[in-house]
C-alpha cells in the first residue's frame, strides 16, 4: 500500500492536478453523512474514471460517485470514504440521434440540459417557456407540428440532478404512470466497475438481448457496483397537446374516490397526483376555491393527441363533480410544464435546508394505496408533525416528508410502524433523507427479502474489496 502522497500524485496524474482537490474547503462540500473524503476528483471522460478507479481499487480506498449530490444523503452512513469521483466535467452529449429517437450522454450531463437540448431540435418544447428563453432566443413554442421529441422521465430536482445520478438512484416522478420507468428508458450504458474495468452494455437499439441486461441491472444500485459513465436513452415524440386539471376535495375519502374512479376508466392520463394541503402549499400557487386545512388536491397531467386531452379534461371534471370536488382549475400548455417541475421539488432530499427533516418513499402494490397513505399521514400527525404527502397514484408510490424540529426521537417508532404496514401489504419503504444522527435508529432501506442472498453474492463477486460506497446500500452492502 502506497503512501498517501503517492496515491494523491497518481490520482492527480490521471485527471490533471487542477482536477484533483484535497483542500479542506472543497472536501467539506463533498461530505457524505458528515464524513469527509480525502480527495475529490473531477474526471472528464470514462477513461479517466477507469484510471481513478484502478488506483483506488489497488490501494483499498473507498469510493463514492457524485453527480450533483441531490440524492447523496440516501443510504446508511458510509463505513469508509476516501475518494469522491464527481462527474461534473463529464457533461457532453455524445450522440443526438433524434430520427432514431435515441440520445447518448455522459453521466454528468444535467437532466434539464437533456430536455433543453432536445427542445432546440424542433419548434416545441417540453420545458417551461421561461427557462428556454435563457437557452436560446430562437426557440418558439407553437402548436403547429409535433415532430419534436423529449426524454420521457420526470425525476425530482431535475434542475440540478445529473442523468447519472438519476439513473443510479432509479429516480422517477409522477408521469411514470404513462411513460414508465428508468429501466424502460435506458438502452445501453458504459460503466466503470469496482476494479476499474470499463464495461459496455446494450447499445442504441430498442431491442437488445445480447448478454446479460447489465444496463438495467446497474440502475438503482446507487453506486454500489460501479460508476455509470455514459448512457443511451430512449426518446419519444412530443405529445401533441398537454394540459393539467387540478381538483380540490375537502377530505381524503372524496379525493381517493375520485382517483380510483379515474384510474378505473380506460383513459390514459400521464399522471394522477394526490397532495395533502401541506404539499400543495409547497407549490406556492394560489389556493383552489374551497380549500381548508384538511383538504386534498388531485392533479392530473394530460399529454396526448389534442382530442384525447379534451376528452380526458371533460370526463375528469365530470367525475370530480360526482365525488364532490370543491374547486377546479385547468392549467394550459404554457404553464403545464412549470407546474410539474414544481411538483418534482415538493419533497426535499438534500442538506441545504436548515431544518431537520425526514423524507420517506413508500412502495407498494397499487391497490394498497389508500390504506398506506392514510397510515403514513396518521403516523406522523398523531405525533404532532405536519407532513407533506404526495401520492403517485396508479404507480404504487407515495412520498411523505416532515420537519421534525427537536422531536427526532419520535421518528424511529413512526417509521418502523409504517414499514410494518408496508410489509403487510407486500411493499417496502426507503428513508430518502434523515439527519445523520437519526440514521442508526431508522430502517433506511426498509426490510430485505429472500433475494438479499443473491444481492450479497453479486456484490461480493463484483466488488470483492468493498471499493464502492461500502456499507451504504441495502443490508449494509
Amino acid at each position: 500500500m502506497a503512501e498517501f502522497t503517492e496515491i494523491i500524485k497518481a490520482l492527480a496524474e490521471c485527471v490533471g492536478r487542477d482536477h484533483l482537490k484535497t483542500e479542506e474547503d472543497v472536501l467539506s462540500r463533498y461530505r457524505v453523512d458528515g464524513l469527509l473524503p480525502k480527495a475529490v476528483a473531477f474526471p472528464s471522460n470514462t477513461d479517466q474514471v477507469s484510471g481513478l478507479m484502478k488506483i483506488a481499487h489497488n490501494e483499498g480506498w473507498a469510493v463514492a460517485p457524485w453527480g450533483a449530490g441531490t440524492k447523496i444523503s440516501t443510504g446508511n452512513p458510509p463505513q469508509r470514504l476516501d475518494l469522491v469521483i464527481c462527474t461534473r466535467r463529464m457533461n457532453h452529449m455524445r450522440d443526438v440521434d433524434v430520427a432514431n429517437l435515441t440520445l447518448t450522454v455522459e453521466a454528468g450531463v444535467r437532466f434539464r440540459d437533456i430536455q433543453a437540448r432536445l427542445a432546440t431540435q424542433e419548434d416545441r418544447c417540453y420545458l417551461p417557456l421561461e427557462d428556454l428563453m435563457t437557452e436560446s432566443d430562437e426557440v418558439v413554442c407553437s402548436e403547429r407540428s409535433h415532430s419534436g421529441c423529449f426524454f420521457p422521465l420526470d425525476p425530482p430536482f431535475s434542475e440540478n440532478a445529473t442523468i447519472g445520478g438519476v439513473m443510479a438512484a432509479n429516480s422517477s416522478g409522477p408521469k411514470r404512470l404513462y411513460y414508465n420507468l428508468p429501466r424502460d428508458l435506458v438502452l445501453g450504458a458504459k460503466v466503470v466497475a469496482a476494479d476499474g474495468s470499463v464495461v459496455g452494455t446494450g447499445g442504441k437499439t430498442v431491442k437488445n438481448v445480447s448478454g446479460y441486461d447489465i444496463s438495467k441491472f446497474m440502475l438503482g444500485t446507487c453506486g454500489s457496483l460501479g460508476i455509470l459513465c455514459e448512457m443511451t436513452l430512449r426518446l419519444l415524440p412530443l405529445p401533441e397537446a398537454m394540459a393539467t386539471v387540478v381538483f380540490s376535495f375537502s377530505d381524503f375519502e372524496s379525493a381517493s374516490g375520485f382517483v380510483d374512479a379515474v384510474l378505473n376508466t380506460t383513459m390514459l392520463p400521464a399522471a394522477v397526483e394526490v397532495m395533502n394541503e401541506a404539499a400543495f402549499h409547497a407549490l406556492e400557487g394560489e389556493d383552489l376555491p374551497g380549500m381548508s386545512r384538511g383538504s386534498f388536491v388531485v392533479a392530473a397531467a394530460l399529454e396526448h393527441f389534442k382530442p384525447a386531452v379534451e376528452r380526458m379534461k371533460e370526463k375528469f371534471r365530470e367525475i370530480a363533480k360526482i365525488h364532490g370536488a370543491t374547486g377546479e382549475r385547468v392549467i394550459g400548455e404554457d404553464h403545464h410544464a412549470l407546474f410539474w417541475l414544481k411538483v418534482g421539488d415538493i419533497m426535499p432530499v438534500g442538506a441545504e435546508r436548515d431544518a431537520e427533516y425526514v423524507t420517506i418513499k413508500l412502495n407498494y402494490p397499487i391497490a394498497a394505496w389508500k390504506d398506506l397513505a392514510e397510515a403514513a399521514m396518521e403516523g406522523f400527525t398523531k405525533q404532532g408533525f405536519n407532513p407533506r404527502l404526495l401520492v403517485h397514484s396508479g404507480s404504487g408510490i407515495c412520498l411523505i416528508s416532515t420537519d421534525i424540529g427537536s422531536d427526532g426521537g419520535k421518528v424511529s417508532g413512526i417509521v418502523k410502524d409504517l414499514l410494518a404496514s408496508c410489509r403487510r401489504e407486500g411493499g417496502n419503504l426507503v428513508v430518502q433523507y434523515a439527519p445523520t444522527a437519526l440514521k442508526k435508529d431508522l430502517p433506511i432501506w426498509g426490510e430485505s427479502g429472500s433475494d438479499f442472498i443473491v444481492m450479497k453474492r453479486l456484490k461480493e463477486r463484483l466488488d470483492p474489496k468493498g471499493t464502492m460506497c461500502p456499507g451504504r446500500y441495502v443490508g449494509g452492502l
Binding site: 440521434d97 430520427a99 432514431n100 435515441t102 409535433h146 415532430s147 419534436g148 432509479n170 422517477s172 420507468l181 429501466r183 464495461v199 459496455g200 446494450g202 442504441k204 437499439t205 430498442v206 431491442k207 437488445n208 438481448v209 445480447s210 448478454g211 446479460y212 441486461d213 447489465i214 438495467k216 441491472f217 440502475l219 444500485t221 419519444l236 415524440p237 380506460t266 390514459l268 396526448h304 393527441f305 389534442k306 384525447a308 379534451e310 376528452r311 412502495n363 407498494y364 402494490p365 397499487i366 391497490a367 404504487g396 408510490i397 417496502n428 432501506w445 427479502g449 429472500s450 433475494d451 438479499f452 442472498i453 444481492m455 453474492r457 453479486l458 461480493e460 463477486r461 463484483l462 441495502v474
Partner: protein, 463 residues
Amino acid sequence: MEKQELTARLKEIVDPEFVLTSEMDLKLYSYDASMDRATPDVVVLPSCTEEVSKIMALCYKEKVPVLGRGSGTNLTGGTIPTKGGVVIHFARMNKILEVDLPNLTVTVEPGIFTLDLQNRMVALGYAYQPDPASQKVSTIGGNVSENSGGPKCLKYGTTTNHVKGLEMVLDDGTVVEMGGKAQDAPGFDLTGLMVGSEGTLGMVTKVILRLMRKPEAVKTMLAVFNSIQDGANTVSAIIAEGIIPASLEMMDNTMMRAVEATLKVGYPLDAACVLIIELDGMPEGMDEKAEQIVSICKANKVREIKVAKNQEEYDLLWAGRKGAFGSVGQIRPSYMCCDGTVPRTKLPEVLARVMEISEEYNLPIGNVFHAGDGNLHPLILFDDRDKEEVARVLKASSAILKACADVGGTISGEHGVGLEKLKETSFIFCESDLEFERNIKRAMDPSNIINEGKMIPEPACEA
C-alpha cells in the same frame, strides 16, 4: 454420478412417470428450433417449486449439468443440453396461479403457453402485451429467459418491461423471490438481470407479470410497396413524424410467397414488400394519425393501403405475419434466422447489404421483421442435409450480423446469444465486457452447471 443412480434419485423427488430415460424420449429433447443437437442423460417434469428446488439441490451436490426447457422454440440453442445431464421440462407447471386485476398483475407458472395466458386476460378486458410470434407454442418461462419480443415491442417494450417479479430456484436449491407486485423495491433490480439471462443463472418457477387495460381502439393497415427501399423509408418517416404505432412490421416478397402458398391471407405476390402498421390506444385522434400514416406511405410511393375493417380481416392480416417462419418450409426444409437489430435509419442500408450477401453466398434470404424497432429477421433458407450449403449459411449469417454491428446495431434483438452466436459476441463486446458477465455467472453458478456453455464465450486465449 452414474446415470442410473441419478435417475433413481430423481424418481424419489418427482413422480417416476415423469422421469424420462428411454432413447426415444431423450431424442425428443435433443433438439430445439436451432441447428444444434445434443442428448441429455435424463429428462424430468416437476409439478411444483419444491420439486424443482430438490432437483437443483441434487444437481448442485453431485455437480450434474442441468438446464430448463419450456417448449423448446428457442432459436439459438439455449435448450440444447450440450453437456448432457438433466433437462427440467416445465410442461406440468403451467397454471395461472392468481389474477389480481386491482394490482394489474397475473402470477403464472413458467410452463404456461403465452397465447393461452393472453387470451384469458383479453377475455377479462386486460392485456399482457409481449406477443412473440411463437406465442402459440412458447411458454412464459421461455419468454422470460430469452426476453422475448414480438411486434408490439415497438410501443410496449419486451418481456422484461412486463415482468414485475420472479420466484427463482438458485444453483443450490434455495428458493428466492425477486421483485413483486410493488415497483421500486429497494435493492438491485434482480428481476431485470434474470430476464434475458438465457437460463444460465437459475431456474424460474413463478412469474409475476404486468397487465394493462386493453386499448380502447385498434386500427391495423397493410401497405403494399413496389420496392423495399420505399418500405424502409416509410418506416423511418413514420417514426420521424412522431407517430409510434403499436406495431410496424415488414415482409418481403420471398416471405409473402411462402405465406400465400400455405396460409392464403391475400398478400400481393408481385409486390416487393408490405408493411403491417397497427395503432392502438384512445380512439380520439386515431383516425387523424391513420390519415397521416397514409400520407406518409403515399409520399413514399405506396401502391395500395388496406385497413382491416373487422376482426376477421384483422386476424387474417396477422396470421400471415405470425405464420411466416413456419411457412418457409416449402421453399427449403431449414432456415437460419439472423436476429440482428439496427437503428431504424440504417434499415435501407442494411437491407441492401443483406441482398448482396444473399447473392454473394448464393442462398435465398427472406425477410420478415419488426421494422419499427430495426429488428431484422433475415431467414436464410437451406437444406441442412447439404453440408456444403450449411457451411455457406453459417458464413452468410455471420456476415449479416457483422453488418448490423457495423452500423451501430447489435447481434441479437430477441433470440438471444445461446450457442448460435457465441463467436459473434466479439462484434459488439470486448473482453472486459465479457469478463463482467462471467463474474455475474460465477456469482450465481460457481460450479458452472446451469446451462453451461451458453451465451458467454470462453475467455480468449492469452497469445
